[in-house]
Structures are given as structure tokens and as C-alpha cells.
Subunit: 127 residues, 2 copies
Amino acid sequence: MSSHYTITQLAQEFDVTTRTIRFYEDQGLLNPTRNGQMRVYSPRDRVRLKLVLRGKRLGFSLSEIREMLDMYDAEPGESGQLELFLAKINERRGLLQQQRHDIELTLKELDDIEAQCRAQLTKVKVS
Amino acid sequence: MSSHYTITQLAQEFDVTTRTIRFYEDQGLLNPTRNGQMRVYSPRDRVRLKLVLRGKRLGFSLSEIREMLDMYDAEPGESGQLELFLAKINERRGLLQQQRHDIELTLKELDDIEAQCRAQLTKVKVS
DNA sequence: GCTTACGTTTACGTAAACGTCAACCCTCAC
DNA sequence: GTGAGGGTTGACGTTTACGTAAACGTAAGC
């Protein structure tokens, strides 16, 4: 639970290259401070990196991920902004639910395939 | 429930371009027959296209999707092959479960954000 | 004082997944 | 027979998400 991290620490912890981390900074996803010219990452940066990687596992593009990160630390704005923001949230929720549905379908199909496969296996072993 | 489809029919039904469909054929994901030089898609092709698009929504690459498609119509092989195949299935299942977990986390966080947002909204309206 | 290890910037390279022409072929209604 | 609306094959362009190499700074250890 350190209060700051070097780039290689983060790279090792999350199994990405330093290049990748720097690239994410270029894209405005991370904002490390500097000690001289060296990057210093705060726990907040670490969390954001974790969120970025989670987004990637879900197949979102970096710009979509940026949108989501922006949601996490959005300044509470005026009413109109908030309504619009709620809409964005719902849109993303819809996407995620669609994905979850797709996953359920695929998992079921994998079960079917495995069952057939196991049936075949015992058949082969018996013969 | 037609017995065959043209490329534009499929393109319209699934909201992709014909270019995309032809590209998937180049990648060996679809195998339409020909009437003269025109492509003719069978219901099987249609299902495969649907599976491809589902895979895309889950963020899988086309080569990963090809692997999954291969699973669907794998010839029941010999015992060793089958064991290996079962391993592949489990690997993919693991990925999907990880994704599902990621989705659950993200959905929860969206709920939190929305709650905060709504709280802010009533606050703004009251003041 | 030299190497080694880690960091930096700059910049060009690349693989994936298409988009976007161009140039061509059918065929069918007018 | 012509032109409009479908289809076809190249082939080059584009975006995203980094990889990779060059050229350099800095602090640690011998």
C-alpha cells in the first residue's frame, strides 16, 4: 500500500509494458507527477490504470475508457448536465448488459460443446 | 426463414457493410457458395455471421472468433485431441467468466455513480 | 571513471479491421 | 441500347494500440 509507484512497479504489477503505460498517459488516461523527469504514480493513478485494463478486457477502446474514467470523477454540474450524464450512464449500462447477455449465451454453448465432447470421449474409450 | 441470402440482405439484417462481410470471408469466417460470381449465403453462414458479431461485441479478435467457430463444428477426433479440445473450452470459459466479473464490477460502479448523480440532482432542484 | 540499470523523449514501424475508391460485369426496365 | 442498380475484384488509405529502435540523462555500485 505504497503512496506512490514507479513506472516499472506498475508495469510489473499489472503485466503491461512501460511503453503501454506511457502511451496511456499520452492519451490522457493517467496523470503522473514528476520527480525531476521521472514519472511518479499516485494510488489514484494506479486505480485508474486498473480501470483502464478492466475496460480493455471488456473490449472497449481507449477513448471509450476515457469517457468512463471521466464519469468516475465528474464534477457535479448543473441540472441539464446531470440529466445528460445520467443518459450516458444508462447507455453504458445497456452496453454492459448486452455484453453480459452475450456471455451467458456463449457460456451455454460452450457447455453444450463440452457435453458432446465428453460423450464422444467415453465412446472412444469404450470402443 | 429463407434458405439463402444475398450479401446485402445479411448486411442490412445485421447492420454491417458488405465490405465487412467480404472481409470476414477473406479471413475464413464465412464460406458462401456462388451463383455465377455472386455470393450466396446459407442459413449456416448467417448463424456464423451472428456468432462473429457476438464475439466482436465481447471484444474478441477475429482470429479468436475463428477459434471459437472451429469449436462449433469440430469433427469428433481421437482421445488426445478431445482432451486438448476440452482444455481450450475451459480456457475460453475462464475468459468469459473473467469478463462477466468485470462487467458486474463496472455495473456496480455505474450504480454508485448514478446514485451520487441523482442525489446531486435533487439537491440542485431544491436549492 | 566506467558500467549497469533504469529512466526519458522522439520517431518510425506494424498488425488488425475495416473504409474507400476504381474499374469492371450482369441484368432488367424503359 | 442504355443507364440505373445490384454485384465483383483489387488495391491503397486509415485508425487504434501499441512495438521497437535511437539517442540520451541519472544514480548506484565497483
